[in-house]
């Protein structure tokens, strides 16, 4: 148990060292895309939308965009990133000859995805806080929770995709038909309340909408405990189910 933990920590260190080598290239897309979105939509389109649920459009967008970084950072890491390490670089084959076992590889991946999700979400939240988009600054330290709660289920989805694709190009299909709609229809850009019921159900059946709720509660200091309990709870449940299934799928590939 202790040894497993030690190895997971070493694996995470390894991931961080590799990630740090190209820090700017690695961080920029995840951080700057939402910044450009809030500028173009929030400031641009927001000129015409003066009141949405009682706030400016920029204030409405900020929490969802912050938490979306956890979706993208974890999905790309666990799909393209994991697939490349597994198939092209054969990194895991070399690691598995050391005391590291398959369960450490996968658990280490979950830890790394969580850290990245928390980090990205926090970076953006701090940036938004500078522009007064966070109502109560003392809630800022809780933002990483939203990042982790999205990074885990979405990262697990990426791993599940990794276990099914036949080649790396097929991730584009997963992105086009799953990740992109998830991003656009989870209530980041408009309130889900006005959507047709069927779409609403679909949105809440998937993780991101709940992450947006958690993030909003924290950004706006509204019903924090209730939202964390309900939507946070649902995300913990999703994480457990999806991480378990991803574990089952990936371990079958890494050892047979």
């Amino acid at each position: 148990m202790l040894e497993t933990l030690r190895l997971c920590v070493q694996l995470t260190k390894r991931n961080w060292i590799v990630y740090r080598k190209d820090l700017i290239a690695n961080v920029s897309p995840t951080i700057f895309e939402p910044i450009f979105l809030i500028l173009s939509l929030g400031v641009g389109l927001g000129y015409f939308i003066t009141d949405i649920d009682g706030r400016s459009y920029t204030a409405f967008l900020a929490p969802g965009l912050a938490v979306s970084t956890a979706l993208f950072s974890s999905f790309f890491e666990s799909s393209y990133g994991f697939y490349i390490r597994m198939t092209f670089e054969n990194i895991f084959k070399a690691m598995l000859t050391t005391p590291i076992g398959v369960h450490e590889v996968i658990l280490g991946e979950y830890i790394w995805l969580s850290i990245k999700g928390a980090m990205m979400c926090s970076l953006l939240a701090i940036g938004f806080a500078c522009f007064g988009l966070i109502k109560s600054l003392w809630l800022l330290p809780l933002i990483p929770i939203a990042g982790v709660l999205i990074a885990l289920p979405c990262g697990a989805l990426g791993l599940i995709a990794t276990s099914y694709v036949k080649n790396i190009n097929q991730f584009q299909t997963v992105y086009a038909f799953f990740i992109a709609p998830l991003f656009f229809f989870s209530g980041i850009f408009f309130p889900l309340a006005q959507m047709p019921n069927s779409l609403k159900y679909i949105a809440y059946a998937l993780p991101l909408a709940h992450g947006v709720e958690v993030s909003r509660a924290l950004f706006w200091n509204e019903n924090v405990l209730y939202v964390l309990g309900v939507h946070g709870g649902i995300l913990i449940l999703y994480s457990a189910i999806l991480c378990a299934f991803a574990y089952y799928r990936i371990q079958k590939i890494l050892q047979n």
């Binding site: 040894e3 030690r6 190895l7 070493q10 694996l11 260190k13 390894r14 060292i17 590799v18 080598k21 190209d22 670089e89 054969n90 990194i91 084959k93 070399a94 690691m95 598995l96 000859t97 050391t98 005391p99 590291i100 076992g101 398959v102 890494l254 050892q255 047979n256």
Partner: protein
């Protein structure tokens, strides 16, 4: 002490049998060669040693432990030169090795010194701070040797360590393997280069299609299956007379697309054949392991089976 003990080890992947009732023992301090063409089941077997491939039936013990259920303990005492280098391209030589030293639990204080010593041993000290992408193929291979030695393993598994390398690097690595053996390491080597096995291994097991087809020391195998001398002619069509001579004198004759091989018990027989048929063989040489393999399987070892 038996380092590896395999008893009728079998691995079945859905419909095909990759390893078929493989049995052998690797004793302490020995260099043991698993020989076979691509697809013979060598790498599948290696995977079983570090627990990524399960065993369908039979019994396998490494250090008298089960390599699947006690994988961590086994792997702590074993170093593997993997077929793929699998180094982190963006990191430097030192960074790569520090990461693996941490996986192996080498105490922090010792890491740097151990890496430095091993880089010295593999003549790589001058590249310590170079990113992997600036290393040649041979240097990367040597670095994988360093990686496999970081945990000071008792058992060293070399999975096709010299495939794709130029002769100079190959000779250098052979020298290092000999040094390691002299230091008391037990070595399991897989290769499809006969010559490599012949000069490095104390004992050899020839595998084909997952099965063991012969086992023994290189000289024993040659004595048993292929005693004598071999003449090799490159062009079959021009050498009908040679073939007739061989048939008349009961030489062992084998033909494939690359030429015709005639084996006779005595060197003089082959000289006489050249004289009488007025031909010159491309090679006249003592029989070697390659001939053993041809004899045993009727196919060229280096060909993709």
């Amino acid at each position: 002490m038996k380092i590896i003990s395999a008893k009728e080890v079998t691995k079945i992947f859905s419909s095909f049998t990759a390893v078929d009732k493989l049995s052998f023992e690797l004793r302490k301090g020995e260099c043991f060669g698993l020989l076979g063409p691509n697809g013979a089941g060598k790498s599948t077997f290696i995977g079983m040693l570090y627990g990524v491939n399960s065993i369908s039936s039979g019994n396998l013990e490494v250090f008298e432990m089960n390599p699947k259920s006690q994988a961590r303990k086994v792997k702590q005492r074993m170093g593997v030169v993997t077929q793929d280098n699998a180094l982190d391209d963006s990191l430097t030589v030192i960074e790569n090795m520090m990461i693996y030293a941490s996986f192996l639990g080498v105490p922090k204080k010792e890491r740097e010194k151990r890496i430095k010593d091993l880089l010295d041993f593999m003549n790589l000290s001058h590249k310590a701070n170079a990113p992997i992408r600036f290393l040649s193929g041979g240097m990367k291979r040597r670095l994988v040797f360093v990686r496999s030695l970081l945990g000071d393993p008792e058992l060293l598994v070399l999975d096709e360590p010299t495939t794709g390398l130029d002769p100079a690097v190959r000779h250098l690595l052979w020298g290092k393997v000999r040094d390691l053996k002299a230091k008391g390491k037990t070595i399991l080597l897989t290769t499809h280069y006969m010559h490599e096995a012949e000069i490095l291994c104390d004992r050899i097991l020839v595998m084909n299609k997952g099965k063991s087809v012969a086992e023994g020391s290189p000289s024993e195998l040659i004595q048993k299956y292929c005693p004598g001398y071999v003449a090799v002619y490159d062009q079959i069509e021009k050498n009908e007379s040679v073939k007739k001579f061989g048939e008349k004198h009961n030489f062992l004759i084998q033909e494939d697309r690359s030429g015709i091989y005639l084996r006779a018990p005595k060197f003089e027989d082959l000289l006489k054949m050249q004289e009488e048929t007025k031909t010159f063989a491309a090679q006249l040489r003592p029989a070697n392991l390659e001939d053993v393999f041809l004899q045993l399987t009727g196919q060229e070892l280096t060909a993709d089976a």
